[in-house]
Amino acid sequence: MKLPAIPKLGPTVWGIAAFLVVGAVAAPWIPIYPLTILIGLLVFAALAYSMNFITGLTGYVSFGQVVFMGTGAYAWGYVVGTFRWHPIGGVLVGAAVGALLALGLGAVTLRFRGVYFAIATLVMPLAAVDIILVTPALGGGQGIILNLGFEPLSWFYTIWVILAIEIGLTYWVTHGRIGYGLRAIKGDEDAAKTLGIDAARLKLFVFCFSGLFTGAAGAVNAWTLSGVFPNDAFALLFSLQMLAMVVIGGMGTLLGPLLGAVVVYIPHTYFLTVVVGAEFIVIGILIAIIALVIPEGIVGALRRHIPALRRILE
């Protein structure tokens, strides 16, 4: 009789760890331009993992995810601008605000299933930006402009730490009891409840993680821009990119969001020099095809079709 694999650190974990460690060690020697690209990639990866918490693990599609990014950015901008906090302190506040907002919004919206949840979350950033536009304390339509200077290494190590913690948490969640509960909810929420799973609590739990890390990543993003601007901070495009990364990489997997971040972010930086938005023509079609043909994403498809990879990819 074969026992199920007892959670132990497999090649995927080592691979991701190696990627992070090499990056951390090499960062001081990386030239500025590639370093800023790498920072952007890590921000996107952090966003992808935070989307993975809710949409990847529970199947609840959160179109409004950017609302946590925007509030994280504004919380950061407010404490750094008004109270002269250190930017890293601001990132912690951004994370806390993101988590709290997720707790509040999740308590209401996670009652709605399927498309209702998607729509209920979709309107959140739309309403948020409308409210911020008329809130003078947050700069109204101007936003918050700070003069913080160019500190790529501080940005790098901050987002590095956030991403490392996030991936560790993803591992812990997916490989333990909670992971089974979440997979059950994703499979059939009603059946999950009748087997003793407190679906409401579990969903809210991962949604808070999701809000926390989205808020933190939003704050770091604002730091790299040295400011927060209402229409950019809550741009739905971020939600869509987060969803794209998770869908392309593989929903609910450990490696998928990182792969998705590479696939979505790298063309993004390249195309920026060609025509703004042109990469989404490609990404859009890619998402549509993946959703219809291989809804399990790159990681899922590789696992399914190449048995040798089954033990390696997770």
Partner: protein
């Protein structure tokens, strides 16, 4: 003395404009609702088809000098064709042979149509350039006491309601329409009636797209300079909120939801400013979902 009467006049003006706006909103939401109610697919790319309808009207005006009211039926015919293509190219693969649409399928179509929306909006941005454009068509206005109401708004509002009524008559009174309604309620029963579910779902989807694109043409009358590639990002959420307000699958619900939202936005704009008006409009969704998940209509 003049103060209260000025407020009342503003309020009446807001309500009238809100109703006109709401009727057109209702029409675009109706297009979404038809696809949602019949094929059980929530088309996230809905806004992009509204945008295409608006551009359709724009180009027909630019090259042929047609006014938006004349362009609307051409848009609708185009929409029907696009909808059939959308069904067979996109939805059929996921929906084929299913007796009921599972949550899983719903998520797949949600994500797939989201990819489509990214594609269409950005392709339009490259093809049409990202500038705002508009249609120089003015039908004049009528004076109603102290109010001045644009005639174009009245025309598109009336036509919107007429189109909604026509689709209702089609769904309730014709053989094909009844087949479509049967499909929307119980797919196996449709087969027992001897109706091909694929045909019915495809026609329902085409109908939804036709209505949506005609609605896009009408919007250009209310927002004369509001045509741009990413306009769908505003009208899609508005349509979603309206359908939930009125109740998915309830076709008259679109009208009630649309007018409700139109009045909230227009009256709200006058008294609270445009930002808060839209925020309120979007957030009405939450109490409705919490307390009246079937929509505000019984």
């Amino acid at each position: 003395m003049a103060e209260p009467s000025a407020v009342v006049a503003q309020l009446i003006f807001g309500i009238v404009r809100g109703i006109l706006l709401g009727c057109v909103f209702a029409l675009i939401a109706h297009g979404l609702n038809l696809i949602w109610g019949i094929a059980k697919v929530v088309n996230v790319a809905h806004g992009e088809f509204i945008m295409l309808g608006a551009y359709g009207a724009y180009f027909l005006n630019l090259f042929l000098g047609l006014n938006p009211l004349v362009s609307a039926p051409i848009d609708a015919a185009l929409g029907l064709a696009v909808g059939l293509g959308f069904y067979f190219g996109f939805l059929h693969r996921e929906l084929r042979g299913k007796e009921a649409i599972t949550l899983q399928s719903e998520m797949v179509t949600l994500v797939a149509t989201f990819g489509l929306s990214l594609f269409i909006a950005n392709a339009a941005n490259v093809l049409f350039s990202g500038n705002f454009v508009g249609i120089p068509w003015n039908a004049g206005s009528v004076e109603l006491g102290i109010l001045q109401i644009p005639l174009g708004g009245i025309y598109v509002a009336i036509l919107s309601v007429a189109i909604i009524a026509l689709t209702q008559i089609f769904l309730n009174r014709t053989y094909l329409g009844i087949g479509i309604r049967a499909y929307s309620q119980d797919i196996p029963a449709t087969q027992l009636m001897g109706i091909n579910p694929t045909v019915v779902a495809a026609i329902g989807t085409g109908l939804g797209f036709g209505v949506t694109m005609a609605g896009g043409a009408f919007l250009t009358v209310l927002f004369p300079t509001g045509i741009y590639p990413y306009m769908g990002a505003l009208y899609a959420p508005i349509s979603f909120v309206i359908v939930v307000l009125g109740g998915p699958g309830k076709m008259w619900g679109s009208l009630v939801g649309g007018i409700t939202l139109g009045i909230i936005i227009d009256v709200g704009q006058i008294f609270l400013g445009p930002s808060i008006a839209y925020a309120v409009a979007f957030l009405t969704l939450i109490p409705v979902l919490l307390f009246r998940p079937e929509g505000i209509l019984r």
